[in-house]
């Protein structure tokens, strides 16, 4: 059961980050040079894979599993709560939704303004694509390492992340400039809830908690957190709407 949840969590987290990275790669490719943008992307993906292969096995070898689970659990809790907070604010209408088409247009305009050097390679496209993929991918590396290591399923987590990168890449190439149609906030909310559920589970195990139902407790935690998150957003939205009606001016 927890393996399925782990695969879904890693896949969704990777897909969300890759949608953001793809926007940058598409902007660099279409406005500058496709070849350099793809080279920058390839180098970034290799660097990220090297990070996973370099850090993952050493951590498992040298750090005791209970300490590893506690530290990873705490990291997942902080990381997941940051994702969830932003997603809740977006659902409540207090934060603008991520618009990939708008980001794409801004990035293209910015890149077109940079003069082109007559060379077979475009260093701007390379650097922009590399930075975009590497920085967005770092979050994926953290998710893969934390979830993969604590569950002793680093390979499964890595394959799941790679599958997301490939699928998002293929879909991205087909739909090109329609990335804004991806339900990013819903995906981010799901990932946020999954990360805090795994975080609670692993941090608890690291502190000696014996969860009822063993790994099945993760599913219970997901349901409980999702329910409370929805209740809070729903309650806030309804209070906000009533307040706006009676005072002619809403918060935010």
């Amino acid at each position: 059961m927890s393996t399925t949840v782990l695969i879904i969590a890693v896949f969704l987290a990777s897909a969300v980050e890759m949608v953001e990275a793809l926007t940058i790669v598409l902007a660099a490719g279409s406005s500058r040079s496709w070849r350099s943008a793809f080279e920058g992307t390839a180098v970034a993906v290799l660097a990220l894979a090297a990070l996973i292969l370099g850090i993952g096995p050493s951590l498992v070898k040298y750090v005791p599993i209970s300490s590893l689970r506690f530290i990873i659990g705490a990291l997942l809790l902080i990381f997941g709560l940051q994702w969830l907070r932003k997603a809740m604010l977006r659902f409540a209408g207090l934060k603008a939704l991520h618009n990939e088409d708008e980001i794409f247009d801004k990035e293209v305009a910015r890149l077109k303004a940079i003069p082109t050097v007559s060379d077979s390679r475009d260093s701007t496209a390379f650097v922009v694509a590399f930075k975009g993929v590497f920085l967005e991918g770092l979050e994926v590396v953290i998710v893969v390492l934390t979830l993969g290591l604590s569950a002793h399923k680093l390979l499964i987590a890595s394959v799941s992340a790679l599958a997301a990168v490939v699928i998002v890449g293929i879909i991205g190439a087909i739909v090109a400039k329609q990335l804004s149609k991806v339900p990013e906030n819903l995906m981010k909310t799901t990932v946020g809830i999954m990360l805090i559920s795994f975080g609670t589970f692993w941090a608890g195990e690291g502190l000696g908690i014996k969860w009822p139902g063993s790994d099945g407790a993760i599913v219970f935690l997901i349901l409980v957190y999702a329910m409370f998150m929805m209740l809070i957003v729903k309650a806030f939205t309804s209070v906000k709407t009533n307040y706006a009606k009676s005072h002619r001016g809403a918060i935010g």
Partner: protein, 74 residues
């Protein structure tokens, strides 16, 4: 030196960033769960309720910030 600063900045932004209240709350909750002791039956409920309280608090901290900003802008 630039890389050392960059390394710590990355981890600071990643762990604390603009939401120090989340990191502080998690440190406190995990500390409480640790101190009440292994095998204590209240460990799990405290951890789960603590996490729910943290995301509720983080959400409303931002709501209050936005409400204050809206009031100041008027």
């Amino acid at each position: 030196m630039k890389y050392v600063v960059g390394f710590f900045k990355f981890w600071y932004d990643f762990l604390i960033g603009d939401t120090p209240e989340i990191t502080a709350a998690i440190v406190v909750i995990l500390g409480v769960v640790y101190f009440i002791g292994k095998g204590n039956r209240y460990q799990a409920p405290i951890l789960v309720i603590g996490v729910i309280a943290t995301f509720t608090m983080a959400f409303f901290v931002e709501v209050i910030k936005k409400a204050r900003k809206a009031k100041a802008d008027k």
